[in-house]
């Protein structure tokens, strides 16, 4: 099944949840409506698509230019040996999306990472707390609005550069 066929099949299955479809280096990319992410991915998890692997879940900050964060989901189907990338935009003012917890086990940690780095809330997540930064860390360091040299030491440090 080529990328065009896959896009066609997914569009047929998901209907209006898909806003647009493109192609990136031979891999299909779909733009989803944010509120449709969880049901859409739940459908892709099942046969005939059978996207059993959530390869990655990450986020891009377009807050300054376009006022939105873009969530990026990478799926892989072991049965069909195809990859699928899905994107959904959430408003920068109150970034929130439905959690994928319960669909893929690793989504829990990936969502915690996105929450930690970008401050996107995932509704329905069983334990949404910081994953990588430490207790007492303020802000979300991968946001463009985070001061790029702001350090938050845990112990008193000697004066540095």
């Amino acid at each position: 099944m080529g990328p065009e066929d896959l896009i066609e099949a997914v569009r047929k299955r998901l209907g209006p949840a898909v806003e647009a479809a493109t192609d990136s280096f031979g891999d299909p990319v779909l733009i989803l409506r944010a509120e449709a992410v969880r049901p859409a991915l739940a459908a892709l998890r099942e046969p005939p698509f059978d996207f059993a692997v959530l390869l990655d879940l990450t986020c891009v900050d377009f807050a300054a230019t376009e006022g939105r964060f873009e969530l990026v989901y990478h799926l892989y189907s072991l049965a069909g040996n195809v990859r699928l990338r899905l994107k959904a935009s959430v408003p920068a003012a109150d970034p929130a999306a439905a959690s994928l917890a319960g669909l893929w086990k690793n989504a829990e940690w990936l969502e915690r990472e996105v929450f930690d780095m970008f401050g996107v809330r995932f509704e329905g997540h069983p334990y949404l707390r910081r994953l990588l930064t430490y207790e007492g860390f303020e802000g979300h360091p991968l946001r463009k609005s985070y001061p790029w040299r702001l350090e938050q030491p845990r112990i008193p440090l000697k004066e540095g550069p």
């Binding site: 350090e151 112990i155 440090l157 000697k158 540095g160 550069p161």
Partner: protein, 158 residues
């Protein structure tokens, strides 16, 4: 052995000589510089030739702390604790660009040089440093130890 029936030296010099050739090091390895550490420590370059071959995996048994790799703010208290656990006399080597200055990382996560956390005796730059550079740094530390006023804890009390 005529002509070498006796030898005079200062006690400090003898103590420094003993200390510089019996460094027990604790490798605090966090990143890719660890590969160069392994190369320097194993048979090919062999830091044991210079008397620093005995790796201790407890800071309580070590007197040379090798900080090899990037140290983040999350890790900083750990490094401080490790240093505090070591017994006097103790020395620290910052191994690699990240430990020296933060290296290529200038962001929210990375400490800009471990001398902001613990006192450092020798900085070994390089990304990563070649094993020869590491050996050179070790020799510089040995020079420093030899030249130091030796810290005699038992003598100081009197």
């Amino acid at each position: 052995m005529s002509g070498f029936d006796f030898l005079t030296t200062r006690f400090e010099t003898a103590l420094g000589w003993g200390r510089k050739f019996s460094l027990f090091h604790y490798p605090f390895i966090t990143a890719c510089c660890g590969m160069e550490y392994m190369s320097a420590a194993c048979a090919h370059f062999d830091i044991d030739r210079f008397g620093a071959g005995l790796t201790r995996f407890s800071p309580r048994q070590a007197d040379l702390l090798l900080v090899v790799g990037t140290v983040t703010h999350k890790l900083a208290p750990v490094l401080r604790t490790v240093y505090d656990q070591m017994l006097e006399p103790k020395w620290v080597i910052a191994f690699g660009a990240c430990a020296v200055s933060g290296g290529i990382y200038r962001n929210y996560a990375v400490v800009q040089g471990i001398d902001r956390i613990v006192p450092v005796d020798v900085f070994i730059p390089g990304c990563p440093p070649r094993p020869e550079t590491v050996l050179d740094g070790l020799l510089k530390l040995q020079d420093k130890i030899q030249g130091q006023r030796q810290d005699w804890r038992w003598a100081r009390k009197t």
